[in-house]
Amino acid sequence: MPEAVFRISGCRILLTLLVFFTSIAVTACAAEDDPAPLDAATAKLLLQRVQDLDTEVQVLKSQVRTLTAGQANGVVASETAAGKPPVLLNSATPAPVTAGNPASSSMADMQATTEQSSAPSRGTELNTPRLQLRGYGDVGWRASDLTGSTNSFFLGQLNLFITSRLTDRASFLAENVIEADPGTNQFGIEPERLMLIYSVNDHLTLSFGRYHTAIGFYNTAYHHSAVMQTTERRPFLFEFEDSGGILPIHNVGVSATGVVSSKLGLHYVAEIGNGRSARTVLGDNPVENVTDEHNGKAFNLAVYVRPPRFPHLQVGASGYHDNLTPVVLVGGVPVNAPDVNEDILSGHVVYHTTRFELLNEALVLRHTPANSSRTVNIPGFYSQISRAFGRYRPYFRYEYVNVPATDPLYSDVGLIHGPRTGVRYSLNESAAFKVEFGRDMRRNLPSVNLVGTQLSFAF
C-alpha cells in the first residue's frame, strides 16, 4: 500500500514537472516566434536595407555585363596602383572568384545560395597563385650651375614590380629597373630586388635573393619608386651604388625578419650576404650578384620599434660589417690592395603619417685597412620634414656626408652638405609632380646650386 502511494505521488510530481517544462518551452518558443511590433524606425531601416540591396544588385548586374564583354575579348587587366587586385578574365574557363572580380563574385553568391553545402572550396580558388605586375616610372628636368654641366630633360627609372603569392606562406617579389646610364647614355636592365620569401610565423620570415640592406629607414622604405618618396632625389647618404653612393644599398644573400614582441612593436632584421665590392670607378656596379670578391660574408643586424600606441613612430638602429678588397691600378695593371674592414652603425627616428613626415637618420661608416690600426670615420645624416596641405606637400631636407681625405675607399666624395627644399603636388593617388631646389656645399670646391623637376607615376 505505501508503495502504491509513493508511485502515485511520484507520477503526480513527474507529471507536474512535465507540464511545467512543456509550458516553459512553449512560452519560450512563443516568445521567439511572436514577431515584434514593427515600429517606424525599424520600417525605415528595412526600407533603407532594401534600397541598399537594390543598389547592390544594379552594380552587380552592370559588373556582370562588363564581365561578359571582357570574356569575349579575353582581357587580362593588371592591378592598379591604388592596390586593387587584378581582374583575370578567361573565356576558356569560368572566371575565378577573386577580390577584384566582383562580377564573378556575384555569380559565386548566386551559386552559393543553391549549392552552399556542395560548393567546392572557394577559399582555395582565392588562394591560387597570381602574378601581379605594377609599374613605376619618372621623367624630369634638371639644371645646375656646376661648371660644364648642361640642363637636361631626363628619363628616370622604369620599374616593373612583380609580386606573386605562391602559397599561404611563400611569395615572390622582383623589382626590375630599366634606366639609362648617365655616362654612356645606354639603357640597361637590372633586377634591383629579386626575392623568394617564406613566412614561418610572425617571428620568422626568410627572404632569399637580392634585397635592399636594412641599414636605416630610407633604404627599405622607398626602394626604386620615385612616386613613393616625397622628394625628387634620394638623400645622398642613400644614393645607389652605381650613382656614387657610399653605402651597400643592395645585397645578395639571405635575410630573416620578424616580430620579437608584438606588445612593444619590436622587430628584428638579420642579413648575411656577399656585400659590395669596393668602388674603384664611379659608375661601376659594385653589387656582388654572382661572385663574392672573398670568402668573408657581410652581415647586418637591425632592430626597430613601432610602438602599438604610436603606430606612426619608428625608432631603430643597425650594425653592418664587411671586408672590402679595393683594386688599385699599378702600372695600368689592376692589383688587389689590402682589405678594408668596414663597419656601419646607424640610427633613425621617423614619424610618418599620410599628412606629416619627419625623417631623421644618422650613421657612421668606419674603415680600417688590414695593414693599419688607424680607423677612418665617415659621419653622415639627414633630416627631412614635410606636411601635406591638400594636394600640395612642401618639404625641406638638410643632409650631410663627410668623407675624410684619408679614407681608403671614398675619399673622392669629400664633404657634401646642404639643404633641399621643394613642393610635391599629387595629381592623383598614382602620380605626382615635384619641383626641388638644392645647394651642395663642398670642401675646397665651389658650391653648386641645383634645380630639378620630376613627374613620377605608377601604372
Binding site: S9, P102, S105, G123, Q132
Partner: protein, 167 residues
C-alpha cells in the same frame, strides 16, 4: 516519500537553472543579430574565441599574419564604401580608404606582404570565404551573420554588449 519530494524539488530547481542559463546564453546573439554592431567573424574550426583591439589593429595593418596555432591568417574585407569596411578601419585605425590603400601599397612595395587583403563585393562572399578558409577572418554586421561562423569577442565583449568596440 520524503526522498522523492526532495528529488523532485531538486530536479525542478535544476530545470529552472538550465532554462535560465539557456535564455541568458541566447541573449547575446539575439541582440547582436538585431543590432548594427559589426562582428569579427572567423571559421568555426578556429580555436580563437577572443582578440584584443591591438591584435585586431595588427591584423588589419598586416603586422600580425598568423593565428596562435600558426595557421596563416587570411583577412577578407568588403569593398571600399561599405560600412563593414569603412567603419572598421575608421574606428580601429583612424584611417580612410585612401590611407588604408596607401598603407598596403607601401607594405607590398617593401616586400612585407604579397597582396592587400581581399576585398569582396558582398557579405555573402566574405562569409563564404571565411567558411571555406580555416584561417579566414572578416567583419560582418549582425543582421548578415551566418549561423555556421564564429563570432569573436573583442576586448572581452561580444557584439550587442554595451561597450563593444565596433558599432
Amino acid at each position: 516519500m520524503k526522498t522523492t519530494k526532495i528529488t523532485a524539488w531538486l530536479v525542478l530547481l535544476a530545470g529552472f537553472l538550465t532554462v535560465a542559463a539557456i535564455q541568458q546564453a541566447a541573449q547575446a546573439p539575439v541582440s547582436f543579430k538585431s543590432s548594427d554592431d559589426i562582428g569579427v567573424v572567423v571559421n568555426i574550426r578556429n580555436d580563437a574565441s577572443e582578440l584584443s583591439s591591438a591584435d585586431l589593429r595588427g591584423i588589419l595593418l598586416g603586422e600580425r599574419r598568423f593565428w596562435k596555432n600558426r595557421q596563416p591568417l587570411q583577412l577578407v574585407l568588403r569593398e571600399p564604401g561599405t560600412r563593414e569596411r569603412d567603419a572598421v578601419i575608421k574606428s580601429l585605425l583612424q584611417m580612410n580608404n585612401t590611407e588604408y590603400n596607401e598603407h598596403w601599397r607601401d607594405k607590398i612595395f617593401r616586400g612585407e606582404a604579397s597582396a592587400a587583403p581581399l576585398a569582396v563585393p558582398s557579405n555573402g562572399m566574405a562569409s563564404q570565404y571565411v567558411l571555406d578558409t580555416p584561417g579566414g577572418i572578416t567583419f560582418v554586421a549582425g543582421r548578415n551573420l551566418r549561423p555556421d561562423l564564429k563570432v569573436l569577442k573583442i576586448d572581452g565583449r561580444l557584439p550587442g554588449e554595451s561597450g563593444y568596440l565596433l558599432r
